[in-house]
Amino acid sequence: MNTNDLPRHAAPIAFTLDGRAVEAAPGESLLDAAERAGVVLPRLCASEGLRPAGNCRACVVEIEGERVLAPSCCRAPTAGMVVRSDTPRAANARRTVLELLQADAPATTALKHDSELAHWARETGARAGRFAPRGAIGEDLSHPAMAVNRDACIQCTRCIRACRETQGNDVLGLAFRGGHAQIVFDQNDPMGASTCVACGECVQACPTGAIAPANGAFAKPSLQRVDSVCPFCGVGCQLRYHVDESGRIAHVEGIAGPANEGRLCVKGRFGFDYAHSPERLMRPLIRRADAPKDPTAIERRDWRELFREASWDEALDAAAAGFRAALGATAARGRASPVAGFGSAKGTNEEAYLFQKLVRTAFGTHNVDHCTRLCHASSVAALMEGLGSGVVSNPLRDVEHAELVLLIGANPAQNHPVGATWIKNAIRRGTRLVLADPRRTELARHAWRYLGFSPGSDVALLNAMLHVIVAEGLTDPAYIAAHTRDFDAVQAHVAAFTPEAMAPVCGIEPEAIREVARAFATAKSAMILWGMGVSQHAHGTENARALIALSLITGQIGRPGTGLHPLRGQNNVQGASDAGLIPMVLPDYARVNDASARERAEALWRLAPGTLGAEPGLTVVEIIEAAYRGDISAMLVQGENPAMSDPDAAHARAALAGLKHLVVQDIFLTETAALADVVLPATAWPEKTGSVTNTDRCVQLGRKAVASPGEARADAWITEQLARRLGLGWGYGIAPDGSGTGDGAQGIGAVYEEMRALMPSIAGLSWPRLWRDGAVTYPVSDEQDPGQPVVFTEGFPMPEGRARLVPAALVPPAERPDSEYPLVLITGRQLEHWHTGSMTRRSAVLDAIEPSPVVSLNPATAERLGLRAGALARVRSRRGAIALPVRVDEAMPPDTVFIPFAYAEAAANLLTNPALDPLGKIAELKYCAVDVRPAAHEAASA
């Protein structure tokens, strides 16, 4: 036995196993210690990562001096303990346990080819048919993702521990008793009718296939396994694709990444069949001359109606020619350039980097942006202003070190599901959660306090909290003195914001505001997490300023379990921003007005000095506006879908339709692509290799697992080809099929290494290191630096190292309800659908769970409006109208409407207000005034 495996500094515990001297680490189970000593005992209820339950009794051993056998999974050796695993007494007991379980569940290998029960039955010599079979219980096939076969269930409760203790979803339980004990969902409801959110943690935990993927993927071994990262949100879960003999992803398993430790959500586990959709684009497309761009007819179009197929050469030539023509028509460059580009936060860092480099060099403009503008631009603006950096200060999993967590304007249970599991885990261990959100979302059940404030009144609530902290002397004066400036301004500003004055504005009782403010300020460690409920407002920057002030004046930053964490929405919004896919900055947030930064980039990119402009480019909404006016005539869009994601979508669609030249790289014919002149078929996430940076600043490696369909090519390859046709002599040698190697000198690795040369934050993370380690958190200064999950420990990247406190002004939403539009519309995501739904709505499981758009209403509001659950409602704003069925949801506040924006057939963004936050230029997607009424009623009265 090798004690080098033991944790350092821990004194090993010497005991005797089967007559041999063996050492265990303190706290290590007998089962694990025995295994390290080469004695492998059967185990079914024990599984790594789950609390030991000790119920199956398959691992029992003799401990000298004890009357009965002991479950080795639940016992830790003590010094001098004498253990025997090899006696007939112990071995027979283990074999009989396996025989009993085999009698109960005789046919598990048909469900799970590598059934653990069958394995251990073989290992222990269990005789089949030794005991009478149990009565059949039957299957539950009610869920689209998972099949339940209780005849294969051995009541080991791994699924229950996975559902409840790991994921905190609390759907599975063990009901009844004795021989009738069985796993149930909710109140013994069919799984498909239960509150199950289909994270599939139970599937991953089940040793017998009693809960298994509904597609039968566990019945046979996978041909190939590839480790990668999930593309479906900013958490950045690591996963393993299991690829079958037909080259398709048969199922997906969570693996031990730093952000997820093996956990996944419904999208990551069951949502990958979008890559195999028959709707995938297979060949380049060029618009047919007889197919005019109609911005009102873009939903799920058949490409044959609008385009003809073309070769890659023809399509790339056409794409480049269009840009050359646009640039040739005017000498204007910089902000006034006729060309702009939207990159993507869904691609890799390398793709984002190449894209911004292409726009900046080939098109001579900083008019390059991406959906960060629509998610955290205001947060980043406030963070840059206050702290000198837009990154999160602490990783999400730091909630486990926090005594209190303030979660505001975020719904991680739906949008960052695995992130939410860490919050629920922390709560279970004693962390107090304050949930502030107009909607009473899933986490409210777990919250210590829930503050259901009025939509748009964030600043009133937060300034009142600041007032309490200042007025009651709960600030951290030493921290303020050492690390901040302009406290006086905030102190003076919040003086008028008494809880009594703000209560009518935000709808929260003064005492509740006081209680939460005191708890936050006096907690040993308090962390703030926020989402788009904070940022997507015309006052988004003000909201973030208030949160920053809250953290700074109480000294709740710079330590584990404290700090500021804006939850990034898309899988690579952090990395795409880092890579410079932003009009104001070059890679690593070097401002374009910083001459030395421009010089560095020009030198690296072999540009003539002075090529790069000093003036920031246009942002997403500004670019659309310029296109609408005709100032921008050509656009390159990579993997973005502004026709769905931009506010006032009718306006955006008209702008896109009006472009002389629109080139779209995507995997499907998105609503935006339907308005393109040239469509270039790209590779899906599992079809390419590249790096990606999650919300925690952790850089991870996505690996190619399957081939792309038809002639689809990697986005990075497409960008390189375009660049060459636009006169840039790029020679990375990027593989067209999206594959990569560990070589940093060529291909995608070479792109990364060039990018790293402009990014001090990842200076210590070479491509070979990333290839080897798979996940490293920046800042990382050299190869030996393990990376820094917590930053701002010694101050801030600001003058004198001091953070700047900025008072948050009380700015009302740009459009308030009135008699004509009396309700407030909030838009956002659903658990099953990501962004504009282009991927997830083409996943069979995700589509089956959430197949169509809904408008969620509080029951009382619905009743008042004459709308029953399921009735068709017409929702109208000053900008447009859509019709969709009603979902009655008690989590909704009165007179408030929620519509997910993933559905083209009822696109929520046809309604939203493009009013911008003045600093972050983010649109107010979380608030506009609407009218809701029965659709039939309006038709009748019309």
Partner: protein, 574 residues
């Protein structure tokens, strides 16, 4: 045995017909809480703190009012307690006395439970069950159920109509009570008063905590719930643990044939409470829960009254002794589960969960209620504490026979003339117990076999009627006295049938947590019905259950089988 108490949801064999594409769910996922259910639950649970650990108390409110637990109300209750639905449902479906039904289902106004455990079965319990079912067949508002031992073995056959315990029940007496609506708990006479004299001595300093423990030691007082652990050692262990420390009084006697605790409490509840207060003072307990089995409906109001009556007296003591901090004493109601007599299962139940025994180590003394060090005692053990302090432990110890110490309460049932609770010397033999205390064998009955300790303690033949009965004395015969539940059988009784009855009891009462007990009890029930028993398979099952079960239930469950094979082999073809 009974099916699990639930109208099972029908799980479709094929996928649910999903609504055509384009139709989304009309509500968020899963069952939603209807406003009417929310209001009803709020009204029924008024005055109960909405804490998860009080889940079972909440369930009783709903079950008592509605005759069953309605799914819609369970969803509302989950919301109220901030639990998930499954956290409520798995508890509701665990306990015999709860019935989950659909919202619109008819629920019985009265549930009649007829005991068919051994003593009652010997007195015609099965027949009573059949005749009661027949007599009430037309009554949709009455449900008739088979019940495991309800603690009236000396008045067999016994039944319970609603909350009315009915000794020596007949189908007619049951129907009469139901017809007259006499289904509430029966009234009990006042128990013997108690003047808290020993507690007073302790608070005044006339008696030291060490002195108390010394008396327990001198008395050789052992835990009388079945395990027989020396009381003084338990007190010493818990006392040495860091605070806060808690206490639990186990009034969940469910061992087949045991009914002594009912008697002790009905006569001496105040003395039990004094024992609790003395223990709390000596060991330093700040919170003590009394967990009362639900079958003892008559004891519940009485015990609550006695607990309430303590308050002014404790207040007076606090005024006399300003340093005195009496513990919080709380009564909790079981819900029908033999396993909750196991102390760690009982603690799980107190915390509002299914009664699943915990794995040991850690022991309850170190890790009990809410993870705190806990002194857990059977109530009779505590009843003796003031008694011993008054008369002296050594004097009490001298009352035993054959070198055994003190007195024991034997619950005697079966073929004797005077079944009942008999206070007899420890170490008495079965023959002495029957002859000196139980009035001898009934006419026409000769001793053939006896259970020295209920369902778990094994079955001994008449040839072993002269061995002393006490803790440890029966081990060589593969038996134990446990809670001293003695069931006497004669030549007219089938030992084979008795053993099967006991095994069915274990199968029904197994919590289902560990494989050996969950699967083993059912397999043994099957094997025991063969004309000729399969010795080899039974050996394997017996071994795995004894050696590898989590708790005493599974470890002792093979005893009836092993006893029959050892002492009555010809009856089973061996």
């Amino acid at each position: 045995m009974n099916p699990p108490h639930d109208t099972r949801a029908v799980i479709p064999i094929r996928p649910l017909d999903r609504q055509a594409r384009g139709a989304a769910r009309r509500t968020p996922k899963g069952r939603q809480v209807a406003p009417a259910a929310r209001e009803r639950v709020a009204a029924l649970c008024a005055g109960l703190e909405p804490r998860p650990d009080l889940l079972i108390e909440h369930l009783h409110r709903l079950n008592d009012a509605e005759g069953a637990l309605r799914r819609g109300q369970l969803a509302a209750l989950a919301e109220r307690l901030r639990l998930s639905q499954v956290e409520v449902y798995e508890v509701a479906s665990f306990y015999h006395h709860f019935h989950v039904v659909d919202d619109e289902a008819a629920a019985p106004a009265t549930t009649v439970r007829v005991c068919t455990s051994l003593a009652c079965a010997m007195a015609g319990g099965e027949d009573l069950l059949a005749r009661t079912r027949e007599a009430l067949a037309g009554r949709a508002d009455v449900a008739v159920e088979e019940a495991p031992c309800i603690g009236q073995c000396h008045q067999a056959p016994a039944a319970c109509a609603g909350q009315r315990q009915l000794p020596q029940a007949t189908a007619e007496s049951i129907v009469d009570h139901v017809a007259r609506g006499e289904t509430g708990p029966r009234q009990l006479p006042h128990p013997l008063p108690n003047d808290l004299a020993q507690l007073g001595r302790l608070l005044a300093g006339d008696l030291t905590p060490e002195g108390v423990i010394a008396e327990l030691k001198a008395a050789h007082l052992r835990g009388l719930g079945g395990a027989g652990f020396p009381a003084w050692r338990k007190w010493d262990t818990v006392r040495a643990q860091p605070g806060p420390r808690h206490g639990v009084v186990n009034i969940d006697e469910g061992e087949v044939g045991t009914f002594k605790d009912w008697l002790v409490l009905s006569m001496g509840a105040p003395q039990v409470l004094e024992g609790v207060l003395v223990a709390a003072e000596v060991v330093g307990l700040d919170h003590v829960w009394l967990y009362l089995r639900d079958e003892y409906h008559d004891l519940r109001p009485m015990l609550q009254r006695e607990i309430d009556a303590l308050a002014p007296r404790l207040q007076a003591l606090r005024e006399r002794f300003p340093h005195y901090r009496p513990p919080r004493v709380e009564l909790r109601r079981g819900a029908g589960a033999y396993i909750c007599g196991e102390e760690s299962a009982l603690i799980e139940s107190i915390e509002g969960r299914r009664g699943l025994p915990r794995l040991k180590p850690p022991i309850v003394a170190m890790n009990g209620v809410f993870g705190r060090p806990t002194l857990a005692h059977n109530l009779e053990t505590l009843w003796w504490v003031p008694e011993l302090l008054a008369q002296g432990g050594a004097a009490w110890a001298a009352l035993g026979r054959r070198g055994r110490h003190g007195l024991r309460r034997f619950s005697v049932s079966g073929r004797v003339n005077r079944p009942g609770v008999h206070l007899a010397p420890a170490g008495i033999t079965l023959r002495e117990l029957v002859d000196e205390f139980a009035g001898g064998m009934q006419a026409g009955h000769e001793l053939r076999a006896y259970l020295p300790g209920g369902a778990s303690g094994g079955i001994l033949p008449a040839s072993l009627a002269d061995v002393p009965l006490d803790f440890d004395t029966l081990a060589e015969h593969g038996a134990f006295v446990g809670s001293m539940a003695v069931v006497v059988m004669s030549q007219h009784d089938s030992v084979r049938d008795a053993a099967l009855n006991l095994m069915r009891f274990f199968e029904m009462e197994s919590c289902g947590q560990c494989t050996p007990c969950r699967a083993g009890t059912g397999q043994l029930v099957r094997l025991m019905q063969a004309p000729r028993w399969d010795a080899e398979r039974m050996d394997e099952l017996s071994a795995v259950m004894r050696e590898a079960s989590i708790c005493g239930l599974g470890q002792a469950a093979p005893n009836p089988v092993d006893s029959v094979r050892r002492f009555f082999a010809p009856e089973v073809g061996l």
